[in-house]
Amino acid sequence: MDTFTAILGSLGKVGAISLILGAGIPLVFAYGVRFWSMETAPAGAGQPAGRNQLGQALGILCFGIVSVAVIVGILYVSRDFIGHQFDLYILGAKKK
């Protein structure tokens, strides 16, 4: 019974954090795509639509957030290695 409740407890945590990252990152990225592709209204008939400056900036911001998440992910995978090689213990790396 203890095992069962322990599993349920872990499942709650894993579910919550997976949902925040696994659905949150796609959410931010999707806004990035949406802002990035925003266009200004055409200046006149036959004129092509221009890029929207604000949209571009917001798009870059979104992609930047996602990039940071990816970099943290890479550091997380290599945390034990980094700890061993450089004595720099990050993200819960195991001490030597």
């Binding site: 997976s18 696994g22 990152i25 992910g73």
Partner: protein, 408 residues
């Protein structure tokens, strides 16, 4: 070369062979979606994944001399007896990996290895050698069964919500920028899955080889991991990944759900998030089941998408059979090797492994799947339509040659 040394060499070769099957069996987890959506060309995708697996393998540190820790208890055995159990377990794992690959079914390589070892241990030591339950993150229940059952459910939920959000947010975005944008995201998240795979899975084989070296007496358990063990495991898993496992890639990329790049991105991000964080929170979920669940979820989350439940059913059946069948093979192999005894016993089992592996390879050539046909439409089964045409043409050729126009 003494008989003991020869046995050790065979065990190491078999462990590397397992590592190799582990590589091509799991390429699909990271790359199936990127290949199916065209974000990466098939050869580029497996090349990238292979390199990341190689790098990931070298990131492993302090690998202990253990195999299936917390699942089988091999503390009391040593020397040749231990080598024999590990060897039989590896053979069980390899054969299950090859069989599921032949049918194009993604199944967990770790579970196949655990199954083989459980079988061999039970044959050698009886049921007491197996740790069935020992708290939430040890024992067969906590380490294999619970994660395997929960992984697809959690992954499908997360990927389903992610997919729904992505389509909702970008519904007014034109098709072209949408497709292009998400392709980049897909490549990033798939790469992360590959890197994590190399770190986790190559490490398991390193542990097996280290254990074999200790059992033989070449090393003591206090020694550090020899570089050649790390390097050979890294190369074996990378080569396996580069080979591609196209049959499984086809099932995951085309068979289960028809995937577009926003879905592929949502699936890989969900997989990466779960694989990277679940261990930290005390419930490490299986990579293969997570990846499959994520892809399933993108089919559920996208309005109007179709999930092929028969394909999902076949996978779930294979997952249920993984432990018992690889265990049965592991037990049989141990028994055969033990009955014959010594080096001849190991050689006989090794020969059986090669014969069965060769047979399954030849069977796979009847409906070959490679970079050229991996993305063909899914019409009722794994075999690509172009291969079906070839088969039916050669049948009708023999019956009615004159009825067909000559080929130019």
């Amino acid at each position: 070369m003494s008989a003991e040394l020869l046995v050790l060499v065979i065990v190491i070769v078999t462990a590397l062979a397992f590592d190799f099957t582990n590589g091509f069996h799991d390429t699909a987890n990271a790359m199936a979606t990127s290949i199916a959506t065209g974000a990466l060309k098939p050869k580029v995708a497996v090349g990238l994944s292979a390199i990341l697996n190689l790098v990931g393998a070298f990131l492993s540190v302090e690998v202990a001399a253990t195999v299936a820790k917390g699942i089988v208890n091999l503390k009391g055995v040593g020397g040749q007896d231990l080598l024999l159990i590990v060897f039989a377990g590896l053979v069980g794992g390899i054969l299950w990996n090859l069989l599921t690959w032949l049918f194009g079914i993604p199944s967990s390589s770790s579970h196949a290895l655990f199954g083989g070892l459980i079988g061999a241990t039970m044959a050698a030591l009886g049921t007491s050698g197996v740790i069935w339950t020992a708290g939430k993150d040890a024992g067969v229940i906590g380490k294999v069964i619970v994660p395997a059952v929960l992984a697809p459910i959690v992954a499908a939920l997360v990927a389903g919500i992610g997919t729904w959000l992505v389509y909702r947010i970008t519904r007014k975005v034109k098709e072209k920028p949408k497709e292009e944008g998400f392709r980049w995201g897909q490549i990033g998240s798939a790469s992360l899955v590959s890197l994590a795979h190399g770190t986790n899975d190559a490490q398991k084989t390193m542990g097996v080889i280290f254990l074999a070296l200790v059992a033989h007496g070449t090393l003591s358990s206090k020694d550090s991991m020899p570089l050649w063990v790390m390097a050979s495991c890294a190369v074996a898993i990378a080569l396996g990944t580069y080979l591609g496992g196209w049959r499984i890639i086809r099932t995951l990329g085309k068979g289960l759900v028809e995937i577009e790049s926003p879905q592929g991105f949502a699936a890989e991000t969900s997989s990466a998030a779960i694989i990277l964080t679940s261990a930290q929170f005390g419930l490490p979920l299986s990579t293969t089941q997570t990846a499959t669940g994520s892809i399933l979820g993108t089919g559920l989350g996208k309005p109007g998408a179709e999930v092929r439940w028969t394909v999902m059913g076949r996978m779930a059946t294979a997952w249920l059979l993984t432990l018992p069948l690889s265990g049965l093979v592991g037990a049989l192999c141990w028994w055969i090797a033990h009955m014959i005894g010594g080096l001849p016993g190991v050689l006989v089992v090794f020969a059986i492994l090669i014969a069965l592996a060769g047979y399954m390879y030849l069977r796979s050539r009847k409906n070959p799947i490679d970079t050229s046909n991996v993305n063909e439409d899914w019409e009722g089964g794994l075999t690509p339509p172009s291969e079906l045409d070839v088969a039916s043409e050669s049948n009708s050729d023999s019956k009615s040659d004159s009825a067909r126009p000559a080929k130019v």
